[in-house]
């Protein structure tokens, strides 16, 4: 049994963790830019960058070097202070949010039990939500300070989009908190292990909404309206060059990485290894452990599990980017306010009602509890997907043909009712 960390060990190990995690995140983000280019190339039957280093692995380093050496331009009309501040405001929240995500099972060290996350703050997810919504300030300020109409429009769109989807994001998180009764992310992982079921199933509706909102929050296709190349050049980073542009780029991928890790933690069991109970553990604040005994090899295995789950979400991000076209602006707002918000609200009510009913009925928290919730959520999900689909509540932009057919039938009906002559197009009859 390993005990609590001594204060000295806590400080030193925390610094080590911060440096290690920061390094790994920055390297992974750099590799993600390469992966994006590779994956997009593969999807288009191309090879992608493969000249720098074996298989193009050093391409991010070459890009970084190029961006540092490039000339930095400052538009004459731009507000210099905010123009410089914006990339920093954009990148810092993206990196800081990783601090509360647990990436492996706690590691026993000679100095005590080391929780595998940087800061085990009691407000976990709230911290994360607060900082991830700070990211939009960077974009809005960039759009305003550039003194460019395209950048301004991009910034405005980013602001509107973030606000709209933050609500659905927060509401889908609510059901997780109802189920866990805790807002720390290690607590979320522990409850999923206790249920023997990842929350992706019992909270399927929240999962779907969180996922959709995550695309909107990271400004990725199909929600990349703030940068919309075809309409707004590149939106808020129109005026940016060299390393400042690169910082926006890094921020975007850091956001993708963080939100993928978060989805893996909240809905796919975090670092939990499926079908194995040996890793079910929760480190308490006093250094004791609930559940299984921690070991260094469990930490490594769980880290691999966590990375695989995160990688899965990142891959889906990229897959969606090259499959789905961009939404029109009014469609984004329609989806956010008219559909996601009320449906997420209804979903929260039904889910929390089910949890309450199960608690009152005396069902023990565990697999049965989860299965009942799964059933309820899958029914809700089926209804929501049925509503979403085929233009029942949200009409697609390709539905014009149907409208024309309907208008023609209506005109014909009107003509017969009033016994008007058939229109020939010459305009001389009757």
């Amino acid at each position: 049994m390993v005990g609590e960390l001594s204060p000295t060990a806590f400080v030193i190990l925390s610094i080590v963790k911060v440096v290690a995690v920061f390094t790994v995140v920055m390297v992974v983000v750099a590799l993600l830019t390469l992966l994006e280019r590779k994956v997009s190339a593969w999807m288009q039957d191309r090879l992608g960058p493969n000249r720098v280093g074996p298989g193009g692995i050093a391409q991010p380093a070459a890009d970084g070097l190029k961006n540092i050496l490039k000339e930095e331009t400052n538009p004459g009309e731009a507000n210099r202070v905010f123009f410089t501040l914006a990339p920093m405001l954009s990148i810092i929240p993206a990196l800081i949010t990783f601090a509360v995500i647990p990436f492996a099972a706690p590691l026993p060290t000679p100095w005590g039990l080391l929780p595998m996350l940087i800061a085990d703050v009691p407000i976990g997810v709230l911290f994360l939500l607060a900082f991830s919504s700070l990211g939009v300030y960077g974009i809005v300020i960039a759009g305003w300070a550039s003194s460019n109409k395209y950048a301004l429009l991009g910034g405005l769109r980013a602001g509107a989009q973030m606000i709209s989807y933050e609500i659905a994001l927060g509401l889908s998180l609510l059901s997780v908190f109802f189920l866990v009764g805790d807002v720390t992310l290690p607590g979320v992982v522990w409850s999923q292990q206790q249920m023997h079921l990842w929350f992706a199933l019992p909270l399927a509706l929240s999962f779907l909404f969180f996922w959709v909102s995550a695309f909107a929050e990271t400004n990725r296709l199909p929600f990349d309206l703030p940068e919309a190349e075809s309409e707004l050049i590149t939106g808020y980073h129109t005026e940016y060059s060299s390393m400042k542009f690169s910082m926006f780029f890094i921020a975007e991928y850091a956001h993708v990485l963080t939100i993928s890790a978060l989805m893996a933690t909240l809905f796919l069991g975090g670092w939990d290894i499926p079908g194995w109970q040996g890793d079910n553990m929760l480190a308490m604040a006093d250094g004791s452990v609930l559940g299984a005994e921690p070991a260094w090899w469990i930490t490594i295995l769980t880290l691999i599990a966590f990375l695989l789950k995160t990688f899965f979400f990142i891959l889906v991000f990229m897959l969606v980017r090259w499959t789905v076209p961009r939404f029109r602006y009014d469609q984004v707002m329609d989806l956010g306010w008219k559909i996601m918000l009320p449906v997420a609200l209804a979903g929260v009510i039904v889910t929390s009602g089910t949890i309450l009913a199960l608690d009152v009925a005396g069902v023990e928290y565990g697999l049965v509890f989860g299965l009942v919730l799964t059933l309820v959520n899958l029914v809700m999900l089926a209804i929501v997907l049925w509503l979403f689909d085929s233009g029942r509540v949200l009409s697609g932009s390709t539905a014009l043909h149907e409208k024309r057919v309907r208008a023609r039938a209506k005109a014909e009906f009107y003509r017969k009712q009033h016994e008007l002559p058939v229109a020939t197009g010459t305009g001389k009859q009757g």
Binding site: D45, L319, D389, S395, H401
Partner: protein, 165 residues
Amino acid sequence: MAATVRVLKRPEGKSSYVRATLKGMALTFRHMVNPHKVTMQYPEEKWALSPRWRGTHVMEQHEDGSPKCVACGLCPTICPANCIRLIPGEDKNGNRYPIVYEIDEFRCIFCGMCQEVCPVEAIHVGQDYENSEYTRERFVYDLDRLMNQDHPSTLLWDPSDPAGE
């Protein structure tokens, strides 16, 4: 491969967005894992050129290394881009030879008429397209440079089928 654009009529209420999106994602995924890629690794692999490809010029030479050109002046006359500069000379035996023979590859439109008109099959267009240089002056090829091109020269017509039938 010719690109064909199919315009689909998607009636509202009859086509499923969700199914269409999933089908699209399956398609992109299939292409992602498909090992067959169309990229040509350019400096390492290159397209096979047609035997009639008209590129950078080649001057044919005799076995003793002198140019086959007899400085008749037909190629500068026919050249539509006026890119050939020829100053003819005559040796003591009365044989004409080029004192200066320069082709400005920048002005050349690679029509191949110089090769067609040449009575002694001296000047040829060649099967080469990698002729980038750092300065404009380097694009004016002199006689030595034209004789030292190492790429094959072009067949403007098939010798067995000169009329192109």
